[in-house]
Symmetry: C2
Subunit: 232 residues, 2 copies
């Protein structure tokens, strides 16, 4: 019991919870043990809650109609899985099994909902934890994609100007679609538009983009990151 409490206190989602709420989480937490190869749940089963890996490794996989297995994710100590169906009350979207001797902690949705009724601030603490995760992930996506996105956006705007035979051009995709098309997230796309504007390559007004420096955009699209103002 003490062991579970100590482990939960180290999980990043819970690390800022007050002591009383970690105690309450430990009281509803269910430790489960699996042998190598043992199933944890199957796709389509009603979701009982989300899981934290305490030791060992878990694969999450789908099985195709011809019986072929496709592994989607691997999880190990400290990772959590199945939180989307745990919170939205659906079924497991994939199956999970232990890859070796594995201990997991199940946080049952029903019991967690009862805890949230008792301590509404627990919900806020969990929302804060997920928001911090999201912010960190968004920053990493920014770092991983910013340089490429500048060059791809430059190429896209030139191609659009060619296609529409116009300047300013009218964006033909919603922001979320354009971000996905360029391999990034809307936030990084906004920052990229801002960088191109600051470098005086373009001017943005709602959905209209005016190309101010066609040569600069061409160099950027060709991968020249030395275009003034576009770096880092």
């Amino acid at each position: 019991m003490e062991e579970i409490r100590e482990f939960l206190g180290q999980v990043d989602l819970f690390e800022r919870l007050p002591e009383s709420q970690i105690d309450a989480m430990s009281a509803i937490a269910k430790p489960l043990h699996y042998e190598k190869g043992e199933p944890i749940f199957f796709e389509g089963d009603r979701c009982l809650g989300f899981f934290l890996v305490q030791s060992g490794r878990v694969k999450v996989y789908k099985t195709s109609p011809d019986g072929k297995e496709q592994i989607l994710h691997w999880f190990e100590r400290g990772d959590r899985f199945a939180e989307v169906p745990a919170f939205d009350g659906g079924c497991y979207p994939a199956s999970a099994a232990a890859l070796e001797q594995t201990s997991v902690i199940l946080i049952p949705s029903q019991a967690l909902l009862a805890l949230v009724e008792q301590y509404p601030s627990l919900a806020f603490n969990l929302l804060a934890g997920l928001s911090r995760n999201l912010r960190r992930f968004a920053n990493l996506i920014d770092t991983l994609s910013l340089k490429d996105v500048s060059s791809r956006l430059a190429g896209y705007l030139l191609e659009l100007s060619d296609r529409q035979n116009a300047n300013p051009v009218e964006l033909d995709l919603a922001k979320g679609q354009l971000a996905a098309f360029l391999g990034t997230i809307p936030e990084t796309l906004s920052r990229t538009f801002a960088k191109l504007t600051q470098a005086q390559l373009i001017e943005v007004e709602a959905r209209q983009v005016k190309i101010r420096d066609c040569e600069g955009l061409r160099r950027l699209a060709a991968g020249d990151s030395g275009v003034s103002g576009i770096s880092g």
Copy 2:
């Protein structure tokens, strides 16, 4: 009023909320309007809640001691910001101002907490929304970093084997630290270890990694993605 309700129903965080909960959110939502350049909040102010951009653009920035401004993020229609301090009850970690005429919706933390007391399932719906966001971001990070991470992990293992003059080598960083060092997230790192294992380049046992195919690892580290089994 009807306009706010319609807008909130389209925000990705709320799109799966039941009608009654969107109505309740609309009732606490505060529409705010700013002229170009007008401040929305300052770093260190007590956080009132989180914001959704309805139209216009917002910059989030820090000011250095010598008065220089560094823009951290840009937000526009449909984006949300300040959710970390809104949920954890802290102060704004940066300042925000309107870049043009801008309308935002403030979701006040105090009123939202009262709503969660009334409808605990609202908290679960918000947790599900953030979890879906996180899953999408994790998949994108996987796509953006997987190829590079394979090659960087191969290089790291070879270097570690050199340094420890041993095989198997003992990992000298915690998983989260190693993931950050290789420019990715723990989940993608786990998948990469799994891929290298499946390709029979290494064997993993807890914190020990045995190098089975030194030549294959070298080719992978040098950027040869044609090493059997390592692609996609």
